[in-house]
Symmetry: C2
Subunit: 403 residues, 2 copies
C-alpha cells in the first residue's frame, strides 16, 4: 500500500516527538508499505519567525515572508530523514520544489496548481521513504511560496492525489472525528467513517480538526483521508466517498459553534433592492453572513435577522448604521450571546423527520429556537448561548449517537 502520512506541528514539536514519528513511519515501512511523509514546522517555530519579521516591519513583503517561513518545514523534514536513515531505512527529504509542487504566485496564501509526481515516483521506486516539507511549493518563476493556514494538510492531500496513494493519514493531537465535542457530551463516540460532505459541514460548524480546504481537495481528488492521533495507536476516522460507506447512519454528529452573533434589523423599508443593498454593503466590508431570516412586519415594513461570526459583529453594525440615518431601517439590535447547534448526517437525505425530531428535542428541553437553517445533510438552529451544551447533549441522546 502507498500511504501519505502527515504530521503537524505538535506531533514534531520536540526532538523526542520527531523520534516518535520516525518510529511510527518505521513501523509502516516494516509492514510493507511505501511511505511518503509530510511534515509541518516544529510547533512554535513559525510563530517565532513571524515575531522576528514583525521586529522589522508591520507589513513585510509576502515573498520575503515565504522565504522566511518555508525554512521551518525544511528543518523538520531534514531531521526526520536523518532519524529514519539512522534507523536503517533509506530515506531522503524533499522541499516542495523537489516534490514537484507548483502553486499560484499569491505569496503566503498560494494555491496548489499542479504536482509533478515523477521525482517522488522515481525515489519511491528506489525504495526510499520520502519526507516532504509541507506548507510550501514554488510558483512558475521558481520562487518559494507558502500555502497559508492548514497548508501542510493541503500538501499531504495533494501529494496523495498526485501519487494516487491508497491512504492519506493526517496525524494530529486528537483521536479522530467525534459525534460531538467530548468536553460537552462525555458519551460522544469516535466516528469510524464519514463522508466528505458531512465532514465539511462538521468542520465549518465548529469541529476544527481538519480545514475545509483540505477536505474539499480530498473530495475533489478522491483521496481517502484518515484523521488520527500521533500520540497513541487508536484507529482514527476515515473520511471518504459516500459510496464507500456501507451502512449510513441517519445522523453522524452534532456540531456546536459558539462564536456567533445575531443582528436584528427592525422596520426595514419595503422597497425593491433594499436587501441587496444591505448585504452588498456587508460583503464589501468582508463581513461573512451566515443565516438569514426575513419576516413580514407592519406598515409595509419587514424585519430582517441574520448571524455573523462574533468578531465581525461591530464591523457589521457600523456598516449598517448609515441605513438608519437614511431612514431605511428603524432600529438595529444585536445579540452576541447566541450559539449555533447543528445536526449533520448524509442519511437525512433519504429520511424525513430528522428536522422534526430536532425541534421536538429542543421543545422538550424548553429551549427556544431563534433561527433555523437546513440543507440536504444538516439542520442548524440558533439558540441562546447558555443552552448550547444542554442542546448538544439532548440532541446527542435523541439521535442515539452514543450507540
Amino acid at each position: 500500500m502507498l500511504v501519505v502520512q502527515k504530521f503537524g506541528g505538535t506531533s514534531v514539536g520536540t526532538l523526542e516527538r520527531i523520534q516518535a514519528v520516525a518510529d511510527r513511519v518505521s513501523r509502516s515501512v516494516k509492514e510493507g508499505h511505501q511511505v511518503v511523509v509530510v511534515v509541518s514546522a516544529m510547533s512554535g517555530e513559525t510563530n517565532k519567525l513571524i515575531e522576528y519579521a514583525k521586529h522589522f516591519s508591520d507589513a513585510p513583503s509576502r515573498s520575503d515572508m515565504d522565504a522566511l517561513l518555508s525554512s521551518g518545514e525544511r528543518v523538520t523534514s531534514s531531521l526526520l530523514s536523518i532519524a529514519l536513515n539512522s534507523m536503517g531505512h533509506k530515506a531522503l527529504s524533499m522541499t516542495g520544489r523537489k516534490a514537484g509542487i507548483v502553486t499560484s504566485s499569491a505569496h503566503t496564501k498560494a494555491r496548489i496548481e499542479s504536482i509533478d509526481p515523477a521525482n517522488m515516483h522515481a525515489k519511491l521506486a528506489e525504495g526510499n521513504v520520502i519526507v516532504v516539507a509541507g506548507f510550501q511549493g514554488v510558483n512558475e518563476n521558481g520562487d518559494v511560496t507558502t500555502l497559508g493556514r492548514g497548508g501542510s494538510d493541503l500538501s499531504a492531500v495533494a501529494i496523495a492525489g498526485a501519487l494516487k496513494a491508497d491512504l492519506c493519514e493526517i496525524y494530529t493531537d486528537v483521536d479522530g472525528i467525534y459525534t460531538t465535542d467530548p468536553r460537552i457530551e462525555s458519551k460522544a463516540q469516535k466516528i469510524e467513517k464519514i463522508s466528505y460532505d458531512e465532514m465539511l459541514e462538521l468542520a465549518s460548524l465548529g469541529a476544527k480538526v481538519l480545514q475545509n480546504r483540505s477536505v474539499e481537495m480530498a473530495k475533489k481528488l478522491c483521496v481517502n483521508l484518515v484523521c488520527r492521533s500521533s500520540f497513541n495507536d487508536n484507529e482514527g476516522t476515515l473520511i471518504t466517498k459516500e459510496e464507500n460507506i456501507m451502512e449510513q447512519p441517519l445522523v453522524n454528529g452534532i456540531a456546536l459553534a459558539k462564536d456567533q452573533a445575531r443582528l436584528s434589523l427592525e422596520g426595514v423599508v419595503d422597497r425593491p433592492g433594499i436587501a441587496s443593498d444591505i448585504f452588498k454593503a456587508l460583503a464589501e466590508a468582508d463581513v461573512n453572513v451566515d443565516m438569514i431570516i426575513q419576516t413580514t412586519g407592519h406598515d409595509g415594513k419587514t424585519d430582517l435577522d441574520f448571524t455573523v461570526s462574533k468578531d465581525e459583529l461591530s464591523e457589521a453594525h457600523n456598516v449598517l448604521k448609515p441605513f438608519i440615518n437614511g431612514k431605511e431601517i428603524s432600529e438595529i439590535t444585536t445579540d452576541d450571546s447566541i450559539a449555533k447547534v447543528s445536526v449533520v448526517g448524509v442519511g437525512m437525505k433519504s429520511h424525513s423527520g430528522v428536522a422534526a425530531k430536532a425541534f421536538e428535542t429542543m421543545a422538550n428541553e424548553n429551549i427556544n429556537i431563534m433561527m433555523i437553517s437546513t440543507s440536504e445533510i444538516k439542520v442548524s438552529m440558533i439558540v441562546a448561548q447558555k443552552y448550547s451544551e444542554l442542546a448538544v447533549q439532548a440532541l446527542h441522546d435523541a439521535y442515539e449517537l452514543d450507540k
Copy 2:
C-alpha cells in the same frame, strides 16, 4: 560603485544586529552604490541545527545536512530584506539557487563551479538591493548544497567576481588585518593594503580573519577584498593585487601559530624511498605535514624532523610506530610545546637581508631557532612555545612595524 557586502554570524547574531546591518547597507545605498549583501546564519543557529541532527544520528547523510543547514541563511536573508524594505529601500532576498550559484555535488563541502549573474543583474537594474543567503548553492540536479567552513565568504567573493563588482567587503568582528596579533604586541598596526599572497601567508600562519579559500578565490577572480568591522566605522584592510599597492613595505606582518607540534625521527635508515614511505603513510592518514628538516646522522643513518598541527600529533605518531618495529627508525620523540613565528612581506622578494635580520633578532633575545623554512615572501621559524610572544614582539620592533 557596485559593492558586495558580506556579514558573518556575529554581525547578524541578534535582531538588533540585523537592524544595524540594515542601517549600514542603507547608508551605502544612499551614497549612491548598488549593493548586493551576503549573509551568514545568525550565530549559534548552525550549531543548534547540527546538535539537532546529532540527536538522531552520528553520521547523518550529507544531503540531509545540507537541506537542514541551508535554512539558517534563508532566515537571515529574509529578515534583512524585510528590514531594508521597511526602511523604504527596494530589497529582495535570494537563495543560492536564485543567485545562480552552481556547485559540485560534494554535499557539506561543495565547490562553487559557476555563477550565472543574469538574475542578480536584472534585479539590480530594477533598483533592488539584493540579499543573498550565503554558504549555499545548488548542484546540477538542483539539490541544495553547502560550501563548508567559511562558505559565506566564498559566496560573497564568487558573487563579486561574477558581477565584476568594484569591491567585496567582508564585515566581521575585527577591524582588519594587523601587523601582528594586538593581544601579543600592543603596538600592532592595522595594515591599510596587503597583497593576496601576503594575506595567504598570514592567514595560513595563524591570522584567522579570512579563510584561505576565500583569499585564493579573490586572487583568481581579481576581486578587491576589504576586511572590516561591522561594529564600528573604521576603514578596514584592502586585500588586492600586488600591482595595486604603490608603496610596498619590506615586511607587512608577523604571524604566530601556536597549535604546532614537532616529531623527531632519529636513526632513520638510509635506503632509497624511505622518506617517501614515511610521508606517504602520513598523507594516507590525512596528516598534514608542514615544515621538514633532514639532517645527516651517523652510521649511514639520518635524522628527520617535521611539524604537524597539534591535534594531528598522536595520529602521526601512531602511523609511524610500525617503522620502529620494522627497524627503519630507531626512535621517535615528540614536542608539542613549540610555536611557529613568521615574517611576511612581498617586499622581501627584492630585498636581501630580511631573513638575516630575523635570525639576528632571535639571537639578540637568546631564542633558539629549532627549524627554519623560507619562501619568496616569508621566513618561518620554529621556537619553543614559551618564547613565542617575545619573538613576535622583538620581530615587530626589528622591522619597525609600529611606524
